[in-house]
């Protein structure tokens, strides 16, 4: 009851549910196009969770670059592709057991972290860190994004 009286907890519960349901639909939906659409819903849910953790700038970046570019790229690409068959049921049962055991182990490990996040990311700190300490990684990421752009243009011109 006390959990529901806190607005942030309600937002957390709703965004978590949104993310988990979207993830299940990504894996199980018949249409691959809808699966790609649900990936964008998962991205939005995760962005809300990032904001709750004190990273609103990262959430905006996630929405603009990941949901706005990467997921949209997948969505428009999968329109031209067909579905392939899934693996036979015994493997499916094993996969359910493996995933369930993995989730339980991770939850057991993560249950140690009982502290509450009390952090709010300052964009000045972030940009200062990016241009001083992580400048090389930033250049590599920029080159990788340019490469993706070239790939997209090549695909659009049907040169492969």
């Amino acid at each position: 009851m006390s959990l529901l009286s806190d607005p942030l907890s309600v937002v957390f519960i709703l965004s978590s549910l949104m993310s988990v349901v979207a993830a299940v639909l990504i894996v199980h939906h018949k249409s691959i196009v809808y699966s790609a659409f649900f990936l964008s819903i998962l991205g939005v849910g995760n962005a809300i969770l990032f904001t709750l953790l004190g990273f609103p700038i990262i959430a905006l970046f996630h929405l603009s670059v990941y949901v706005g570019a990467a997921v949209t790229f997948i969505l428009f690409s999968v329109v031209m592709l067909k579905e392939a068959p899934v693996v036979e049921p015994p493997v499916k049962a094993l996969a359910v057991i493996a995933a369930g055991v993995l989730a339980l182990i991770m939850m057991k490990i993560f249950s140690v972290f009982t502290a509450e996040p009390s952090f709010f990311l300052n964009y000045r700190d972030l940009t200062a860190l990016l241009v001083t300490k992580y400048w090389f990684a930033l250049i590599v990421a920029a080159i990788a994004l340019v490469t993706t752009l070239i790939e997209a243009i090549t695909l659009a011109r049907r040169e492969v």
């Binding site: 988990v20 970046f61 990941y66 094993l94 993560f110 972290f113 509450e116 700190d125």
Partner: protein, 101 residues
Amino acid sequence: MEAAWFLFVSSILFAIGIYGLLTRRNMIRMLLSAEIIFNAALLAFLSLASLDAGYGPVGGAIVVIAISLSAAEVGVIVSIAIMMFRMRRALDVYELKKFRG
């Protein structure tokens, strides 16, 4: 709200992604499952980074770079999938064996 709750959500997303990766043979569906795992990893990373004010900006910087590289990785895999579909008219990853040298 304890950090453990965010990490629990991350664990569930990770498990769903692993399930999808193990049970699907369609290349795009495998990519989407890998993206679920990527989202779970980002959530876990930021949850842990938010616990310490000193590591917060470092976590944020690494996640910004990770998201950029993920966008590039999506481009590469989708390009391979489209090329494969044009050559074989299928996206079954078992067909990829036939692409060997």
